[in-house]
Symmetry: C2
Subunit: 474 residues, 2 copies
């Protein structure tokens, strides 16, 4: 028989003490209110274990009593992985495990606990003269455990990879409280199955990441950044190929932005001045890293080659930090500027890079057919094949009516195009509880069977974040 909420509260108080426990629903807002205000299910309790042993103790107890546990980091996830689904769950916040355990510059590794805020990790690396190159809009509140559990991406995946590639090893508490000691600082280690990559991106359904060894990179001497006019997504694709050919791994970012994004931001006074060279239907924000040993000028010479090849029509090179900051603000405000234009329907999708022009053309056409006057705002990480394929409501539409009428149908229409091009319905944000049904429809059925078998093997009672990623066992 499941424990009552009162029994859960009492047992947790015994385990971790009342300082590490919230049982009054009116005080749970910080852990329940997620960024998009989409999920509104209460929790049985919130527990904030003060140390690793307490995490183990909570899990051993939860396992013995069949209590569902939701691991939570900074509560910044967008698909509801970190908040309740059924209402009987306990949120286990890692926020108090917030130490940088070690930082070894020569070895190129930092061991950070799950509760370390991403920005704090950035700062620790920089203070040591290095870089942890994972930048997200939510870096001021996202925590390492959640960043890894969602395999977060961000703006520099092109050069450095996503969270998975930036992680050498993890430590994790398993469903029954056992501790997996997988921290290491090795670039090469072929001794067994890749448990690290299984836990990274598992959204807390296979184990609770409590610490990670993270790769450090040398700081570039500087960056070469430009905002480039391209006539179409196809021209942007060709420009991307040229940049890859000329810059290789120095290519740090290649972001696609449509003209409507500039229009939004200028109209809402979100930029101190126009960062572009001139009007263009599309822009590409291109950035190269330059290390100390390499002469400057690679981006400029590449832009000259692109002009000569007729790939681009105009461009502006950042000549100061202020220029670079403004160009990046233009990119980073793309989500915010949409919210000033009323309701929008969003899709975080990826396709093979070469299919981006077709994705944008076919997706926009499908949307306009469904909702005449809808305003497509596709933007994002072209270099990773990852487009935030968003749509702002038609001018003058009623936001609530627009969402109620078209949200589902738009998803159907866009995912159809994405899947037809061999793409992914969740490039960065994951599955959580939002996309569980979608995943069941679109994923290879054998892959789903393998996932269920692994889930059952590592969490036989199904207490770790049940109903996230995979449908809960009946």
């Amino acid at each position: 028989m499941p424990l009552s909420t009162a029994e859960i509260a009492s047992a947790l108080a015994d385990l971790v003490g009342s300082d590490n426990l919230v049982t009054d629903a009116t005080h749970m807002g910080a852990w329940l209110n997620e960024p998009r205000k989409r999920f509104h299910v209460p929790a049985a309790a919130v527990v904030t274990p003060p140390d690793l042993a307490a995490v183990q103790a909570v899990m051993a107890w939860a396992h013995a009593h069949g209590v569902a546990i939701i691991p939570q980091g900074g509560n910044t996830g967008l698909v509801g992985a970190q908040v309740p689904r059924s209402g009987g769950e306990v949120i286990l916040s890692l926020q108090k495990l917030d130490r940088i355990r070690s930082l070894d510059l020569a070895a190129g590794v930092m061991v950070a606990e799950a509760g370390v805020i991403l920005e704090t990790a950035h700062k620790a690396a920089e203070d040591a003269g290095a870089m942890f190159p994972l930048w997200l809009a939510s870096q001021g509140s996202a925590r390492i455990g959640g960043v890894l559990s969602s395999n977060a991406g961000g703006v520099n995946v092109l050069a450095y990879g996503n969270a998975r590639e930036l992680t050498l090893g993890v430590e994790a508490v398993l469903a029954d409280g056992r501790l997996y000691r997988g921290l290491n600082a090795l670039k090469k280690d072929n001794t067994g199955y890749d448990l690290k990559d299984l836990l990274v991106g598992a959204e807390g359904t296979l184990g609770i990441i409590t610490a990670a060894s993270l790769k450090l990179y040398p700081l570039p001497e500087d960056y070469e950044t430009a905002l480039v006019n391209v006539a179409s997504p196809q021209a942007a694709l060709e420009m991307f190929q040229l940049m890859r050919q000329r810059a290789g791994a120095r290519l740090n970012a290649f972001e696609l932005i449509p003209w409507i994004g500039l229009d939004f931001q200028l109209r809402h006074n979100m930029l101190d001045r126009d960062p572009t060279a001139s009007a263009s239907p599309w822009y590409a924000l291109i950035e190269l890293t330059r290390m100390a040993g390499t002469a400057p000028g690679a981006l400029q010479s590449s832009l000259e080659a692109a002009f000569e090849a007729g790939l681009i029509s105009d461009a502006v090179l950042a000549e100061s930090l202020a220029d670079r900051t403004r160009m990046w603000a233009f990119r980073e405000q793309m989500s915010e500027c949409q919210s000033r234009e009323g309701a929008s329907i969003k899709h975080d999708v990826s396709v093979p890079i070469a299919a981006i022009p077709a994705l944008i053309a076919e997706g926009s056409a499908a949307a306009e057919k469904l909702v005449p006057g809808i305003r497509p705002v596709p933007f994002g990480h072209m270099g990773d094949g990852n487009i935030h394929f968003n749509f702002s409501m038609p001018l003058g539409a009623d936001p609530k009516a627009f969402m109620a009428e078209f949200d589902e149908a738009m998803h159907e229409a866009i995912y159809e195009v994405v899947l037809r091009h061999g793409g992914s319905v969740s490039a960065e944000h994951g599955i959580g509880q939002l996309k569980v049904d979608l995943l069941e429809r679109v994923k290879d059925p054998v892959a789903l069977e393998m996932m269920r078998a692994i889930k059952t093997a590592l969490d036989p009672k199904g207490i770790l974040n049940p109903g996230k990623m995979l449908r809960a066992a009946p």
Copy 2:
């Protein structure tokens, strides 16, 4: 009751036809004789399925009858993963699945079947104007399925990663014949557990990789290569840090070679002339890629900075392809030159990069204490923390007596040092059957439990490469 060898032969003949089957032990040499001639167990049969459906049919049959199957690629593995252990197994060679299914330059991906020889994959990429950057000594016979199943490394891991990082997705036949369709061409896809990375490096114990989507890279315009005199492993480490700081991701290789390697190769006439600038206790082979858009000279300016900082005493920059080829031959002949000096005891280990000087000093001291006059030959991928920590027998020793007396004790001594520094007892070559006992002793026990649980979940009858990686179920 297990099937007899005759029953196995008869059933397989029905399934795949006699053209795809070898049952006469005298004709099995190509599949049984592995490179180091360390394993000598016969197989019940060798089956070479002509297509994917036949692989599935063999596995469905093997699952129904409890027949152990050993997947095999080019038979180049060094730890016995690909050859029999008990004698009752069937070797399933992927050699006939040898098509490049597709190559899309714009998407940066090539889909190769498991039986494609690595060198053939290189050639296909180059013919299309791109690069598949995984180079191994055995690339003329190693096949993609084995390369991925062993998560092979090689000389350019520093810049491009090992096989795991070079693979976007895999297709695999599971233990019961089901087909996992995980090929994709996406750089970002957060829809479910990372099954790709679980299958890569699993040595065929969780599924049989039948095809993979592999990343293509743009070809560099050229390389800048130098052979540099460094006084010690510590100086080499500092030089490595300087190169990382000045060259970042352009640093393509940083290989450490001891003077004794030059001595061996010159005495055995393995080099047309001395590739080094002058005598030095240690050398570092350093290489940068240069893409078309970047000006030449980064390596030269870095070497000048290193001279000024007193990190290096002399160096020679490759001025021709012949120079570069000779420098790389010097590195690549390190294993071969040892075999001309009699018996040697080898260890493929890694440690955090900063611990390499201590590893070499302490490991060499321990070896010399155990075997006075033993000749340490540590060399390899310093930039990855991966040293091939080899030892040639003392001058004039008897090879057989040396091996018989010291092989085990030397392993114990070196692994003790490696583990004390947080290292790995198998950086590149894997576990196979050679290191199963060792793994049980040194691996985190919870990691082993997780591995066993996953193995049982995906191969409940234990028919996929039993006794490799993990001890066979009793």
